[in-house]
């Protein structure tokens, strides 16, 4: 009880501080006057009485302070005083403050930006209920369809019957949902609306998908199990982002009918904002559709394994036990299905298992893809921050030395050293907090830039660059730590001013404690900078090598149009007519030099591979299955792949004509090392088909899937020559156009032409071939641009630092220089004196930094393309740039030193 009344009194005093001071002063004054009167009464003279009373009273100011201290708020008052003083000091030197805050903003901002990304990609869970209960049945992201046993025995893809079996038989999950690992292209048209079909992305999921995640619709309803039965009216759920951006949040969308891939669906609900499905990816699904609704899905066949599974474990259940149970069920199921596992593989069944992994973030595709890049970025950003902090420390040291006489005076007047240190530290923390606040803007801009770089080509990324609460906390914490750590040493050094210095002039000595700390900082800065510059040079060169390599095709002047006839309801018999009409109409567009059709185009993200059988040779299982593509006439000339021998696929390769094939160099080398491939035969499926296609031509190697490795062995078949019995798995997916002038300019004409042939034919994407290829290098480009940016930053900071330290040294030594010049030193000697020290720091920095860069380069070596991690040219270039800029930076104050007038210098204090 007394505690609270005491606390109350203390708080009251805090509020009434000024009144308290006045009253105490009045009280003490009365006391002193009464004493004086007493002395007067005792017979002293007025003056004597006054002074005796004064003396007796003692140090009034100290007494007042001690009385005030009793109330316990002195720490707060001192802190407020420090803050006010610090702000005043900072305002008095705006140049220093601006440079310091800017430097810190860049350093803290860069780190905060990286942290925002790490938070969004690696740390956040799915925006669903209780993500900690979610478990994935599988431990990797192999995609997309498998048959029989799976890689390493770890099952990640499941057939629909197997999914049903596991779902129904395992009671430890409250729900197990299935979904496809990749998104489907949808051609969507709202019923009753005249406009053409639009392309969207969709995901087919099991009926209990939303129940499993615990996510309800914000309007309408989510999918339920009753929607996922064959024969049920097709229902679809729209994503919130799509609803807002493409349909303007129109409430009439709920319950409306949409024709999706020729099937009428009713949109029954919209997901809550922020929900993006089971995988963090750019361009998340616009629609979620039930598995049962699409007739193409392999619902009843046990062979194709094509679904990922995630389940919600009941609370209190041990995952290991469930894992063992699931594995047992899997093996039992596989053992009882001979159509899934052929005889020869039955021995492998015991190795098949289900690894239950916690999946609070769903499928961690992005985390896996970007983990290495994020790690690299964190390292680089931390390095830049350290360089920035070294600069700040140097600036503070210089400032502390300049303030030396003021500090000495304060110490002489009785200020405790700790108080002085605390005050200087407060100033540094103020700078750091201001830098942190400014850094938030830098972080926001930086995050947006990184997202745009990393996800070039995407329409929507479900990652927000706005700083969230953990991010704000991180920035503040980083700023505080930075301020304390890098302000402590300068504050401590600055407080070691000798009080006697206040009485005599400073600056006649040549020694200087401050420079002892400054020089190693500069050396470290130079070392960090050279590491970053070399890194930047290496990744930039690697990127250029990737972008300008010989691909085997030409991207200049080419336009790629992605279409999807199947989504518009085309069937195999109608395709012929479509191809013909396209092949007729496209070359007639103005400026089109040649046009062709194919299943897929190079580096567009698609691939088909299949084992081949060469007629007259035994089956060769040594090699991985070659890739293949179906292409129309003029394909190779349109994409710029050279024909080496024989002929390419032409108009004469109709279904009625002889079946032919064209192979690339790698295929020829691999399968026909000693003989002429022209005239040989190949086939797919089994050995009986090995005579199906006659090889009539060889084209140069071209990269279709992998930008870094060599081209795969590839063979090309005509678009129309499908042998009877072979299922038409693919459809024309790509139109290639070789145009004169800028390819993108032709987009509206192409769209018009295609719409003229069939308005329902959905165009998924139109982009130049160059852009399509460039999208493959998004991550490399991201790393290169950021490393370049950070390298430049480090360079500027190091040079600014070197300039500052040299300028400071020149100022401190102005006297000494004056004396030397008076004694006969020439301009050159002075220059050598000043520059010598700067060059030594530069040299030491390079000596430390270059070996460090070489060591670090070893770690980078795996990511580099076409450039060694110790490439001497890049090393030399980076070192010369840094040395050149550093010498330039140091020479400015050095030249100023040579212009010193000895008389002025000697007179200067």
């Amino acid at each position: 009880m007394t505690f609270f009344s005491e606390l109350g009194r203390r708080l009251l005093m805090l509020v009434r501080r000024h009144q308290f001071d006045r009253e105490l002063e009045e009280e003490m004054r009365l006391h002193q006057e009464l004493r004086e009167q007493e002395h007067l009464g005792a017979g002293m003279s007025a003056e004597e009485a006054h002074y005796t009373a004064r003396r007796h009273f003692g140090n009034a100011t100290l007494t007042q302070e001690r009385s005030r201290d009793m109330w316990g708020w002195s720490w707060l008052e001192n802190a407020m005083q420090d803050v006010r003083y610090g702000l005043r000091q900072l305002r008095r030197s705006p140049g220093f403050t601006a440079v310091a805050v800017l430097t810190l903003a860049l350093g803290i901002g860069a780190n905060t930006a990286i942290f925002t990304l790490i938070d969004a990609v690696m740390l956040r869970s799915l925006p669903v209920a209780n993500p900690g209960q979610l478990y994935r049945l599988g431990d990797n992201n192999n995609c997309c369809v498998m048959i029989g046993t799976q890689n390493g025995g770890s099952f990640v893809l499941y057939s629909y019957p197997l999914y049903e079996h596991l779902r129904d038989d395992t009671t430890d999950f409250s729900e197990v949902a299935a979904f496809q690992p990749f998104l489907s292209d949808l051609s969507v048209r709202r019923s009753g609306v005249a406009s053409a079909a639009e392309p969207y992305k969709g995901e087919f999921v099991s009926g209990n998908y939303f129940t499993m995640f615990g996510v309800g619709a914000i309007t309408g309803r989510a999918l339920s199990s009753s929607d996922d039965k064959s024969g049920a009216p097709p229902a679809a759920v729209m994503s919130y982002h799509t609803w807002q951006t493409h349909f303007g949040g129109d409430p009439s969308v709920i319950g409306a009918t949409f024709t999706i891939n020729t099937v009428p669906y009713t949109v029954v609900g919209v997901t809550p904002p922020g929900f993006y499905g089971d995988t963090l990816r750019s361009d998340p699904p616009d629609f979620w559709l039930p598995l049962a609704a699409d007739p193409d899905r392999w619902l009843f066949s046990a062979e194709p394994e094509w679904l990922y599974l995630i389940g919600r474990l009941r609370p209190g259940v041990a995952p290991e036990r469930v894992q063992a149970q699931l594995t047992g069920e899997l093996q039992q199921w596989l053992g009882s299905r001979p159509e899934v596992i052929p005889e020869r593989d039955r021995g492998d069944i015991a190795k098949q298992h289900i690894h239950l992994t916690p999946a609070p973030s769903g499928v961690d595709q992005m985390q896996t893809d970007y983990a290495a890049a994020l790690r690299l970025l964190v390292t680089i950003a931390a390095l830049v921050l350290l360089i920035a902090c070294a600069n700040i420390a140097n600036l503070l040291l210089a400032r502390g030395a300049a303030d030396r006489s003021a500090s000495a005076l304060r110490l002489a007047l009785g200020a405790p050293r700790a108080r002085l240190i605390r005050q200087k530290l407060t100033e540094t923390i103020l700078l750091a907090v201001a830098g942190g606040a400014a850094g938030l803007y830098v972080a926001y801009a930086g995050t947006r830039t990184i997202l745009l770089l990393a996800f070039r080509g995407a329409h929507y990324i479900p990652i927000s660059p706005k700083p969230s609460l953990p991010v704000l906390g991180f920035a503040f914490f980083l700023a505080l730590v930075t301020g304390v750590v890098f302000g402590a040493a300068p504050a401590w050094i600055g407080s070691r001013a000798d009080p006697a210095d206040a009485l005599r002039g400073a600056g006649r000595s040549t020694g200087d404690r401050t420079s002892v700390v400054q020089k190693p900082l500069i050396i470290l800065q130079v070392a960090f900078s050279i590491v970053l510059l070399i890194g930047a040079g290496l990744v930039t060169q690697s990127l250029r090598n990737l972008e300008y390599q010989h691909f085997g095709f030409v991207t200049e002047g080419r336009l790629i149009v992605n279409i999807a006839p199947s989504l518009a309801g085309y069937t195999p018999d109608k395709l012929d007519g479509l191809y013909q009409r396209l092949e007729e109409a496209l070359p007639r567009i103005l400026r089109v030099l040649s046009a062709s059709l194919s299943w897929y185009s190079p580096l567009g993200g698609n691939n088909a591979n299949e084992g081949v059988y060469i007629h007259g040779k035994p089956p060769d299982y040594r090699w991985t299955a070659p890739s293949w593509d179906r292409v129309g006439p003029h394909y190779f000339e349109t994409i710029g792949t050279r024909l080496l021998r024989g002929r390419a696929i032409e108009e004469r390769d109709t279904p009625a004509a002889q079946r032919i094939a064209v192979i690339n160099e790698t295929f020829a080398r691999r399968f026909f090392p000693k003989e002429d491939p022209i005239g040989q035969h190949l086939g797919m499926g089994d050995a009986s088909h090995s005579g199906d296609y006659e090889i009539v031509g060889i084209v140069e190697d071209a990269k279709y899937q992998d930008t870094r490795g060599p081209a795969y062995a590839t063979f090309f078949l005509p678009l129309l020559q499908t042998p009877p019995g072979e299922p038409l798995r693919g459809w024309v997916g790509a139109i290639e156009l070789y145009v004169a002038g800028k390819p993108e300019d032709l987009e509206p004409f192409v769209r018009k032409t295609v719409a003229g042939i069939d308005p329902n034919l959905t165009i998924l994407r139109v982009q130049s071939f160059a852009e399509q290829v460039n999208l493959n290098f998004n991550q490399d480009r991201l790393i290169a641009r950021l490393t370049e940016l950070f390298g430049l930053l480090a360079l500027i900071l190091a040079c600014v630092g070197l300039y500052g330290v040299t300028a400071y040294a020149v100022e401190r030594r102005t006297n000494e220089i004056g004396i030397r010049m008076a004694l006969g030193a020439g301009r050159r000697n002075v220059l050598g004196l000043v520059l010598g020290s700067a060059l030594t720091q530069l040299g030491l920095g390079l000596a430390i930094g270059i070996p460090a860069a070489l060591a670090g380069g070893r770690l980078l070596a795996g990511q580099l393309y076409g450039v060694k991690s110790y490439d001497p040219m890049i090393l030399g270039l980076a070192a010369s740039i840094l040395a050149g800029c550093a010498v330039l930076a140091a020479s400015v104050p050095a030249r100023r030193a040579t212009k010193v007038d000895p008389m002025v210098a000697l007179r200067q204090e």
Binding site: T2, S5, E6, R9, R10, E23, L24, E26, E27, M28, L30, H31, Q32, E33, L34, R35, E38, H56, F57, G58, N59, L62, T63, Q64, R66, S67, R68, D69, M70, W71, G72
Partner: protein, 85 residues
């Protein structure tokens, strides 16, 4: 009593043996105010001057008794030691 009177009376009663320094009087008074052992009120002196008058509270009296008994224990202990010496 106000501050001067307190110092003065201590001096008088102890016959100039105990002289309270103003430097310790006022901080001590503040501490007692915080703890609630005294309460203060502004009043007017005989000479028509404004002064702050301090008065012991109930809590203060209790504390006084505690301090006095502690002091007496110490005095008795010292007296015993001195006697035997």
């Amino acid at each position: 009593m106000h501050g001067y009177e307190i110092a003065d009376s201590i001096q008088r009663i102890s016959e100039d043996v105990l002289q309270v320094e103003e430097g310790s009087l006022y901080p001590a008074l503040q501490r007692m105010l915080i703890k609630g052992w005294v309460k203060a009120k502004w009043g007017v002196t005989a000479g028509n001057r404004r002064a702050r008058y301090y008065q012991l509270t109930t809590l203060g009296r209790k504390q006084l008794a505690v301090e006095v008994s502690q002091f007496e224990r110490v005095m008795r202990a010292i007296a015993r030691v001195v006697q035997t010496a």
